[in-house]
């Protein structure tokens, strides 16, 4: 091989290698683009899911899309390979091509190519001519500086692949952000729509509000009880705040009332399990403060609190010094100043025991026998019996040895006075035992249901429950239709007996609804609704003659999705409209179902609202009897964590 041909052949090989590399890069770039595209098609359902967008019906199914992605990717791979082969074949050159390229580059007009031909012996002509041509070709090729063109990486293809790669990497987070924005926008828009569409929020009626206020006051009072456990105090505070929120924001009233109810139930449960009071709670209080707290509790009739503080005082008295006892005595005297009745000096515990036995036993004179314990025991049992009878309403006050609550409080007051005297005298042991006995009495009294905080909490819970039920009924009536509320006529109670339902409501449109007789006696309620085409709801019979609730269907008619009782005939098929659930709640529920969303406050709010509406529907007997439990169990199963 001669010089010219060797050189050109070497350059040719280098050129062909470079072509191969360039086409390889180009093929890789296209492969990356094809892979990204196929991946996008394959994951399209997932991507739309991240955006919370429903899969369009006009598109093939996700499985078809996945298959199509694979097919497209395979076809693209084949196409890219074929294209690369064709391009490499086309761009590969032989030595003649290289020589012609060099001629073009150097402007030598086929000199090098002819020189190669001369070397190959394919040019006819004299030796002189061939020498001239070869000499000129050698000179020309010596002047070649850059035999190969610059390396031309497929910039656009690689850039496209790079951009797609970056997009693919950033896509998940971008989609998440986009989804957040979309949800936020949609929620805001839906809230606005809902706010615009929904009727004005039904305010709490006076009775409901009064009940809630009463419950708030009650809970606040208990919350200040120094003997409470910390957890109990927190539950009380939470319940009170929910109640306050129900008043402040009528829109959330149902949910707030429900939460308050839950808090109170939880508190009651904990009270049964470990009690409401904690001796540790007194650790930060001084003796006189404890004494003052006990006095106050007795004054307000909180027997269990008084018992707890009494126990604590008894414990402290055992080891108290005289000044400390005096301080306690002072605290008692502040709250219970000494009465004017003369008291014999130098009283013994026996005498005090005789007094406690009750007025009915004064005549027996057994107090002087010195059998303190027996006397006091008899007294207690007698008193208990009397009180139970009082509670049932069968007892007759003032009969025999029965002691009234007033008399009992007066006795305890006197006992405290005497105890104060003992403490002033520095008799710690005596004072301590008297105090312990008093605390036991108070605790027994509280156990019997008099002056116990648990009973007070039950009452508060009842108030809350009543308020919530009443509010839900109002809400349900409001959703059924917005007629003017009917005014029920007072029910007529007749004598003692049991309630009877249902009541009947009459309005211009003559409606019927469930009614309940309550209380003693026979209740027969009638409600009359006012309003156009109104449908009255049954009144509530009540011996007290209170007006029964009435409802009427107003001019706006029924809201879709709600069917008042009696509006559906047996066997009639009813399609429930899709506009039932509040807008914006669907996504929250979906998120709750797919993850830990049941921990969120949003979900709890929605659950309370739904559960309340469902409960109202159940109570209105819109749900068949055999299905009511399903409704309740369902909402129990999906309750918030």
């Amino acid at each position: 091989m001669s010089d010219l041909e060797a050189l050109v052949s070497r350059w040719t090989r280098s050129n062909n290698r470079r072509v191969l590399l360039e086409e390889l890069l180009r093929g890789l770039g296209w492969t990356a683009i094809a892979a990204a595209s196929a991946l996008t098609i394959h994951r399209m359902p997932g991507l739309l899911g991240r955006l919370h967008v429903d899969w369009p019906e006009w598109l093939p199914t996700p499985s078809t899309m996945a298959t199509a992605a694979w097919v497209l990717a395979s076809l693209a791979l084949v196409g890219i390979t074929a294209r690369a082969i064709v391009r490499v074949t086309r761009r590969r050159i032989d030595t003649l091509g290289m020589a012609r390229r060099l001629d073009t580059q150097q402007g030598t007009k086929d000199l090098i190519a002819t020189g190669l031909a001369v070397e190959a012996g394919t040019v006819a002509g004299s030796a002189d001519l061939q020498q001239v041509v070869h000499g000129r070709a050698a000179t020309a090729i010596a002047g070649v500086v850059r035999p190969l063109p610059r390396f031309a990486a497929p910039g656009r293809v690689l850039a496209g692949a790079g951009v797609l790669g970056v997009v693919a990497l950033a896509m998940p987070s971008l989609l998440d952000e986009l989804a957040k924005l979309t949800i936020a926008d949609a929620s805001a828009a839906q809230l606005e729509t809902v706010a615009a569409e929904e009727p004005a929020v039904l305010p709490l009626d006076a009775e409901t509000k009064a009940r809630i206020d009463k419950a708030i006051a009650e809970l606040g009072r208990h919350e200040r009880n120094p003997a409470l456990r910390r957890e109990a105090r927190e539950q009380l505070a939470a319940a009170r705040e929910h109640l306050q929120r129900a008043i402040d924001d009528p829109k959330q009233a149902a949910a707030s009332l429900s939460r308050a109810e839950q808090a109170l139930r939880k508190l009651a449960k904990e009270a049964r399990r470990q009690g409401l009071f904690d001796p540790e709670a007194f650790s930060n209080m001084s003796d006189d403060q404890v004494a003052d707290a006990m006095s106050k509790a007795m004054e307000e009739g909180e027997n269990d609190t008084a018992a707890a503080t009494g126990e604590e005082l008894a414990r402290r008295m055992e080891s108290a010094s005289e000044p400390e006892l005096r301080k306690m005595a002072e605290a008692f005297r502040k709250r219970f100043p000494p009465t004017s009745s003369p008291k014999p000096k130098g009283r013994t515990p026996d005498e005090s025991g005789k007094d406690e036995s009750g007025e009915g036993k004064d005549e027996s004179g057994e107090g002087k026998s010195g059998e303190d314990k027996d006397e006091s025991g008899e007294g207690k049992s007698g008193e208990g019996k009397d009180e139970s009878k009082d509670e049932s309403g069968e007892g007759k006050s003032g009969e025999g040895k029965r002691e009234t609550a007033e008399e009992r409080r007066e006795r305890w007051r006197k006992a405290l006075e005497e105890m104060a005297e003992d403490m002033e005298r520095g008799e710690s042991g005596l004072s301590s035992s008297e105090m312990r006995r008093l605390a036991e009495e108070l605790a027994d009294e509280a156990d019997r249901g008099n002056g116990g905080m648990d009973r007070a909490l039950d009452e508060a819970l009842g108030e809350v429950e009543g308020a919530r039920r009443r509010h839900l009924e109002e809400l349900g009536r409001e959703r059924e239709g917005e007629g003017k509320p009917g005014e029920g006529k007072p029910g007529e109670g007749k004598g003692p007996g049991e309630g009877k339902g249902p009541g009947e409501g009459k309005g211009p449109g003559e409606g019927k609804g469930p009614g309940e007789g309550k209380g003693k006696g026979e209740g027969e309620g009638k409600g009359e609704g006012e309003g156009e085409g109104g449908e009255g709801e049954g009144g509530e019979g009540d011996p007290s003659g209170r007006p029964g609730p009435g409802g009427g269907k107003g001019p706006r008619g029924l809201r879709p999705g709600f069917f008042p009782p009696g509006s559906i005939k047996p066997g009639e098929r009813v399609d429930v409209p899709s506009g039932g659930p509040p807008k914006g709640a669907v996504r929250i529920i979906e998120r709750a179902a797919s993850g830990p969303g049941r921990d969120t406050q949003e979900y709890a709010d929605i659950h309370h609202e739904y559960a309340a509406v469902a409960e109202a529907a159940v109570r209105r007997e819109e749900i068949p009897l055999t299905r009511r439990d399903y409704i309740r169990e369902y909402f129990q199963a999906v309750r918030p964590n």
Binding site: R90, I93, L96, G97, R100, R101, D103, T104, K109, D110, L111, A113, T114, L116, A117, V118, T122, V123, A124, G125, S126, D128, L129, Q130, V132, V133, R136
Partner: protein, 356 residues
């Protein structure tokens, strides 16, 4: 593409040429000398013929390739002047035949006449016609009858004539330059394809530019008569014609010429779409020979000892334009053969680039 030829002032033109004549070895010096003398010839012709540079170059190519040239153009554009000036510059014998319908073949070739010697004896003596010259100008060749036109066939192809049963060679160098007027076609006899094919080149004379017209008016209407300087002698011309045949042609260049010729045929696989549509018959193998010959001459004009594909492209128009018979569609759509050659060259150039 413009052919660039080094020029030499006619005043400096050497009367004794460096060309050692046929058979001499090709050297760099000989190539350079050939380029110089050809440049001088070109300049000398252009000094008399204004504004026809391309025409002059193509005429010189035809001369160097030992070909015959057909010049087509309207009257008064210097066709005859070109031939006369060229013959004067080369110091060659020149004759002009004005073709008319009544011109007979013998008027061209010559004839045997009965002559009497001093003894009164009669004998037939051949009297040479005007074809016996180095450069024959067949002016308005299409006005003669085909019989007369064909009288030139032998002269053009064989460079000899047969008269009275004897073959009489024409002087070397020999070249026929025919002209024809494309405007006045009535009463004319267009040259048949076979005869057209004998012309190596067909040159077209275009109307000169404004500046050229101005120069013509300024320099050719004066009192003094313009004369032509002698640039080279007959031997030099013969040596250059030999040198043209020595120019190296690589196989790929010959392939290119062959491919180009093939592509003029509408049924060829490489034929462009325009050729398929507008050409009835393509160029003959003589066209391919003409391409290479003219290309060699062009390479020599450029001072090269080798021929390139570009040389073929430079001579493609005058070589191919009269060798393709256009179809009816071409006439209908006013597509000329020059347009078709343009298409051909564009396609060939793409192919060359793709393969390079």
């Amino acid at each position: 593409m413009q052919t660039v030829i080094p020029t030499q002032s006619p005043a400096q033109a050497p009367l004794t040429q460096p060309n050692p004549g046929p058979g001499a070895p090709i050297t760099e010096q000989r190539l350079v000398a050939a380029q110089e003398v050809l440049g001088g010839l070109k300049l000398e012709i252009e000094r008399r013929l204004y504004g026809q540079d391309a025409l002059v170059v193509q005429a010189i190519i035809g001369l160097l390739a030992r070909g015959n040239v057909l010049i087509e153009g309207p009257p008064g554009l210097g066709k005859t002047l070109l031939v006369r000036v060229m013959s004067e510059a080369l110091h060659l014998e020149f004759s002009r035949i004005q073709f008319t319908p009544d011109l007979m073949p013998a008027d061209i070739t010559g004839s045997q006449s009965l002559v009497h010697d001093e003894h009164g004896r009669a004998s037939l003596e051949f009297r040479a016609g005007p074809v016996f010259a180095n450069i024959v100008l067949a002016d308005e060749i299409n006005r003669a009858t085909p019989k007369t036109q064909s009288a030139l066939l032998e002269a053009m192809q064989e460079q000899s004539v047969t008269v009275g049963g004897g073959r009489r060679p024409l002087p070397a160098p020999f070249m026929v330059i025919a002209t024809q007027n494309p405007i006045e076609m009535e009463g004319t006899y267009p040259l048949p394809e076979a005869q057209l094919d004998r012309f190596l080149l067909k040159l077209e004379v275009g109307f000169p530019s404004f500046e050229t017209l101005r120069d013509i008016g300024l320099h050719t209407t004066g009192k003094e008569e313009l004369t032509t300087n002698r640039v080279m002698d007959k031997a030099t011309l013969l040596g250059l014609q030999e040198l043209v045949r020595e120019i190296a042609v690589a196989p790929h260049v010959a392939e290119h010429a062959a491919r180009l010729t093939m592509a003029t045929h509408p049924d060829a696989p490489d034929a462009p779409e325009s050729i398929r549509k507008y050409v009835r018959y393509g160029a003959s193998p003589r066209a391919m020979q003409a391409l290479i010959l003219a290309g060699r001459a062009h390479a020599l004009l450029c001072g090269r000892a080798w021929m390139s594909e570009e040389d073929i492209h430079q001579v493609a128009h005058p070589v191919l334009r009269h060798r393709m018979i256009p179809s009816f569609d071409a006439k209908l759509e006013n597509v000329t053969n020059n347009d078709l050659v343009d298409q051909l060259l564009a396609t060939a150039a793409q192919r060359v680039r793709a393969s390079g």
